[in-house]
Symmetry: C2
Subunit: 322 residues, 2 copies
Amino acid sequence: MERVLSLFASELEATENAMREAITSDIPNIPQIINHITSSGGKRFRPLLLLSCAAMFNYRDAKRFRFAAIIEFIHTATLLHDDVVDVAQTRRGQESANKKWGNAASVLTGDFLLASSMLIMAQHGDMEVIRIVANMLRLMSEGEILQLNKSGRGDTSEKDYLRIVQGKTAALTSAACEVGARLAGASAAQQRALAQVGLHIGTVFQITDDILDYSSDKEEMGKDINQDISEGKMTLPLIHAMEKASREERMFMQEALTHGKITPAKREKVISLVVSYGGIEYARSQSSQRIKDVRKILGNFPASPAQESLLTIAEYAASRSK
Amino acid sequence: MERVLSLFASELEATENAMREAITSDIPNIPQIINHITSSGGKRFRPLLLLSCAAMFNYRDAKRFRFAAIIEFIHTATLLHDDVVDVAQTRRGQESANKKWGNAASVLTGDFLLASSMLIMAQHGDMEVIRIVANMLRLMSEGEILQLNKSGRGDTSEKDYLRIVQGKTAALTSAACEVGARLAGASAAQQRALAQVGLHIGTVFQITDDILDYSSDKEEMGKDINQDISEGKMTLPLIHAMEKASREERMFMQEALTHGKITPAKREKVISLVVSYGGIEYARSQSSQRIKDVRKILGNFPASPAQESLLTIAEYAASRSK
């Protein structure tokens, strides 16, 4: 992954500049809030996907940095809205924007970022790019609302899960790839193929998150583990275990997840059921399957450093340890 | 106003249908939340502006209903976000969406409406319409953030006030008129003229709101009066009075507004200062000035029922008693 980051170092730098240029509001707390959250050490994972896909077709127009900035802005807007919704106190180890500036300013700055993104697209984009982004935003809000609806519910299917993951992560990574390809003048089939690569990468990224929450090493993770169960989040290892479990065990798990305040003993029992029914292995296999598919799709494109980078990013999404 | 509503009755009906058609999510609470808020008796004031402006140029394409629906959706999205921000319990006499479905679902359904609006524009609009809407959304979020910043602050200027009003109300009414004219193929100068009409109408609508908050008749208003001062809102009558007041009085008002919890006695004193310094008359004169300008601008267009309707709407915005 370090190699990919150094390969794209100057492009990511240009993206940072494009982000700074786009935030031109004279209302002082708007740039303050945006800088607070964008300068807190995000990895620019999503811009990197857009830039890699554009690079596969040797696209060199500086326009790509504006669109990479938009993808990061939309990500930032969702973080701002999510932190209000979750009443978050911190984000990436520092005070969250809602804690520091209040809910109102956070929601509205998120809206400002979405509006600014739309304005940049209206100035520099084509209608198809706007359609891709609008469709993505719709999938994102649908997926997140579905997640709320399914919180703590044992009848969450794997299909529901994948739609939730699309909303949380994969719609944006997919759009990042699709927009990169589209800007670069890729064919419709190539755009679809790379949108699929982006969808897989986002999904794998989220599945890895699910698995890491069962990691036994809190120190290594640098954050609390086993949080998903406490929050009633229906993740892939848990969904798989509930499908495999006996009726009685399923009822126990459902009951434990329902009330929002699970006891430590019940949580341990749920974890041991997830482990014994192979929930973690199943999630890993689902992740591997998608990496295999990414490799296959990318194999249809001519070899290039950008194509290799995409594969590296996909593998990183699966293998990262925090 | 009744005459305008009956003139556009079938067009408003078609707009309702377009709204229903556009909300196609299979996630059940999304249409539920949207219907809850859109069917609670909004006056479709903003779609009416778009339809009137389109009608001035005899534009008959059914596309106008989709765009009228978008304008109402964006208004609805801002209501959903505002109610979360204000921790509102009710909206138009019924339980607010955030009270009934929670903050998260309300914020996300607002986002869903914005995404859906953007998608419809990408399918049916031209790039200039998207630019108008994106620019409006940016002005709206800036104006609302400025309002937060200026809450309870005696140094709020009339210029600040007008920018806040643009964010709260007038950017959307202006865009409604501009998009209506644009769809109908009006010239750039005609579009600008009608955008200005929409800006005036929204501003007048808000100034009237400010004045009505000083109304002595709570029964007639059907809601609490003198709320703005309690909430530290810097409205036009108050801003004018603060400019005219003595240094001592200004300091008293500033102090009374600052702490968020004004006493009834201090509130009465602030009200009497606003009245004695002619704050209400001043606001009325600012409103009349704008109506005069609307009449002048509309006078440059050939006479038509639609043109008359716009003037009636503007006069209604100034003269409404609740």
